[in-house]
Amino acid sequence: MSVLILLIIVSICIAGGFLIAFLWGSGDGQFDDVYSPARRILFDDEYESNQNPNE
């Protein structure tokens, strides 16, 4: 099952990549605020607003 070695190495590489992404994310403060991001996406920030006429 030599190919297992390949798959395990590749999977570990990917997992390592995700680990790096996580470490970067936590170092960058991506997870410090878990309140406002969820709300921020609800605000449309169109400068020239395109409101529907009957909203």
Binding site: V3, I5, L6, L7, I14, F18, N50
Partner: protein, 707 residues
């Protein structure tokens, strides 16, 4: 704080949305056609390119990569700029991505119907298209990461994490699973053989479900569901935990597609363990989606978009509970090769992917055209039609799965099998008919949606782009990226350590792959020999016609399977199988031991008209195999490619191959003549008969009964 102005482009999301609608309708129509083909074989029309074996891969590829693929891109090209407060990095790359992806889809349909296939499920496309997919995927990646790097919003919303992970993992899966040895421009052999090929294929196959059908759509859910409900996601913290645990666990679950096969037990168990653990993050995600609607359930009553989302997320929860259950070996013994798998995947495809896409489009198209949806009522109608379609699809499939399982394993008191395979086929026919009906109803719903959305677009006026403004990020990334990364590494020793590990890993990878792949160390069975030139050509016809879509070549170690088909399969039997042909569904019986079971004339008549041999069979006819001359000009290059991958062919077989081939072909033609069948020995059917008669022979002649 200097405010900068920028544009959100709507042209590309609109194009992708139209493509999603179009390919969705096409892919599902193909699904309905093949569903009816299984009940009425006459619908194959005796035409090679309309036969089930070629149509089914077109259906699966169209639904996965054309419908869901374009759905993913619609979501990303719409949501990413708005989440990051910036335009897409390059409108040129966006256009290349769109048109590149659509041409891949067209190429895929044309080549698959022409019989150019690698014979690996959901990775059937041949090597030039594989390379094209890689290029377009890289274009998309550059565009996405360029957008992320030039963002004006420091925080990456959870949907973006899902998009990033999807991009990275799909790239890896596609590249590793597409290692193939080209023979001609339209023919290649999988780099891996037998058990190894199966393992890589299902590591790919399962993670295609994970990182193409699931994670991007979770990103879609985390953006569009809160937007449509106008409620923040229930728990942002849970969404983060959901993301990291899900991507970590999913990668390892592939072997659960190979339970009770010749795959080593420890690998099977590993896949099972990770699959069980997957319930937790999956249900975390489902609950996070549903709880987002807390206090907004009155809106769900009013708004068809939310109705679609609720059923989609619920279907996701059902699928991700069912999946781990199917990964338990005792449950998998029932479901594997049966219609249960088909039901399972369609709860996911129709319910989760389908309904989430429909919800997104009902919300998005009015936004793009700055108008209200043409008819909420029609959208609600579509919702109920679609739900009914899913139910009518799934229930008959579950029913037929259990029914056929119990029929298959029933023995008479004398110890004989109670039912022939044909009895089972007859029994499931009504269920197949109901399933086709369910699919048809679902498809009608899609047409209702297309009508509704076209009307919506006609009423409104397309908003090509929207102007927005935001302050630039405080920390300017004017420095080159490498410098930025480097400065981070300087401050973080742990990161440096991990990074070095990865770099070392890649180095090891480059060294190890050639070393390990050239010499396979699957336990060899001395009596297993490479295919003769004629059998090799016949095998390629077997692959070309997509026989693996209905026939398995893998006998599990159960009493009823061994009694019905013969000795259970061993890993050493498949060392020369590039690609493996184990299959994943038994619409017809297993063929692993079919060699020598019937005379050549039986196969001849059976391929000409299956019902003449087995009345009531739903197998299509293959008349063109009796007219087409076998193309033997490829024999030398095929033998050469196999030799390069370590198949121990005799020296100089490239030059003598066709002579040996002709001798064997003449022998089969002579056998047929004894049974009063006149056919010249250079037809394709001769090669196919040679291959079928070879299956399982090596092990039977050696008298190996137990390992």
């Amino acid at each position: 704080m200097q405010l900068e102005q920028f544009q959100y482009d709507n042209k590309i999301p609109r194009l992708f949305a139209i493509a999603t609608l179009f390919w969705g309708a096409v892919g599902m129509l193909l699904g309905v056609i093949i569903a009816f083909q299984l009940v009425f074989p006459a619908l194959n029309f005796d035409l090679s390119f309309l036969t089930y074996g070629r149509m089914r891969p077109v259906h699966t590829n169209a639904v996965i990569f054309a419908f869901v693929g374009n759905g993913i891109f619609t979501a990303i090209y719409y949501a990413l700029p708005r989440l990051l407060k910036t335009s897409m990095w390059s409108s040129k790359l966006s256009k290349i991505h769109f048109w590149g992806w659509q041409s891949i889809i067209v190429l895929a349909a044309v080549t698959l119907l022409s019989g150019f296939t690698t014979g690996k499920e959901y990775a059937e496309l041949e090597w030039p298209i594989d390379i094209l997919i890689t290029l377009i995927w890289v274009v998309f990646g550059i565009n996405m990461f360029g957008t992320i790097l030039t963002r004006r919003e420091r925080h990456l919303y959870v949907a973006i994490w899902f998009f990033i992970a999807s991009w990275v993992t799909v790239a890896m899966l596609h590249i590793v699973n597409s290692f193939e040895m080209p023979v001609t421009w339209y023919k290649s052999y999988s780099w891996y053989a037998g058990v190894q090929d199966a393992l890589v294929q299902w590591w790919y196959g399962h993670n295609a479900v994970a990182f193409f059908l699931t994670t991007p759509y979770l990103g879609l859910m985390y953006y569009f569901l809160p937007k449509a409900a106008d409620r923040p996601v229930y728990s942002y913290r849970l969404s983060i935990v959901h993301f990291w645990s899900l991507i970590f666990l999913y990668i390892w679950a592939g072997p659960h597609h190979l339970l009770y096969t010749a795959l080593p037990d420890w690998a099977q168990s590993l896949g099972t363990v990770f699959s069980i653990m997957l319930i937790l993050p999956s249900w975390g995600g489902m609950l996070n989606g549903l709880f987002t609607l807390r206090g907004a359930w009155d809106k769900v009553r009013e708004d068809p978009v939310l109705k679609f989302f609720v059923v989609a997320v619920t279907a996701y929860g059902m699928s991700t509970f069912e999946g781990p259950m199917l990964s338990l070996k005792n449950v998998n013994a029932i479901s594997h090769y049966s219609d249960w798998t088909v039901a399972h995947v369609h709860i996911g495809a129709l319910g989760w992917n389908g309904f989430l896409t429909f919800g997104m489009l009902y919300w998005l198209i009015p936004k793009l055209y700055n108008v209200n949806l043409y008819s909420k009522k029609l959208a609600s109608t579509h919702f109920w039609i679609g739900t009914l379609g899913i139910i009518l699809y799934a229930i008959p499939m579950y029913w037929s799965a259990f029914r056929s399982y119990f029929m298959m394993k029933t023995f008479t008191p004398e110890g004989q099998l109670q039912y022939q395979f044909m009895d089972v086929v007859q029994t499931v026919m009504p269920f197949y008919f109901l399933r086709a009906l369910g699919g048809t109803i679902f498809l009608i719903g899609v047409f209702v949606m297309v009508y509704n959305l076209i009307k919506t677009a006609k009423q409104g006026k397309f908003v090509e782009s929207e102007t927005a403004q935001a302050a630039a990020l405080e920390k300017k990334y004017t420095a080159p990226k490498s410098y930025f990364w480097h400065s981070v590494i300087e401050r973080k020793p742990i990161l440096l350590l991990v990074l070095s590990l990865v770099v070392v890993g890649i180095g090891g990878l480059v060294e190890l792959v050639p070393t390990f792949l050239v010499k396979s160390n699957v336990p060899t069975i001395s009596s297993v020999k490479p295919y003769t030139p004629l059998e090799l050509q016949g095998r390629d016809i077997y692959i070309r016609e997509g026989c693996y879509n209905c026939h398995s070549q893998m006998i599990r170690p159960f009493r009823y399977e061994v009694t019905r088909y013969g000795e259970y399969s061993k890993s050493g039997e498949f060392v020369y199988d590039h690609p493996f042909q184990w299959g994943s569904k038994r619409t017809g019986p297993d063929l692993a031991r079919v060699g020598g079971k019937y005379p050549d004339s039986w196969h001849f008549n059976h391929m000409l008209d299956p019902t003449s041999i087995s009345p009531g069979s739903n197998m299509p006819r293959y008349p063109w195999l009796f007219e087409n001359d076998l193309n033997i000009s490829t024999t030398p290059s095929k033998i050469h490619a196999m030799r390069k991958m370590g198949v121990p062919y005799a020296a100089k077989l490239e030059t003598t191959g066709n002579e040996i081939l002709k001798v064997q072909a003449d022998q089969i033609a002579a056998n047929l003549k004894k049974d009063k069948i006149e056919i010249s020995s250079d037809k394709e059917i001769i090669a196919l008969i040679a291959y079928l008669q070879r299956l399982g022979k090596d092990v039977r002649t050696s008298g190996i009964s137990n390992k």
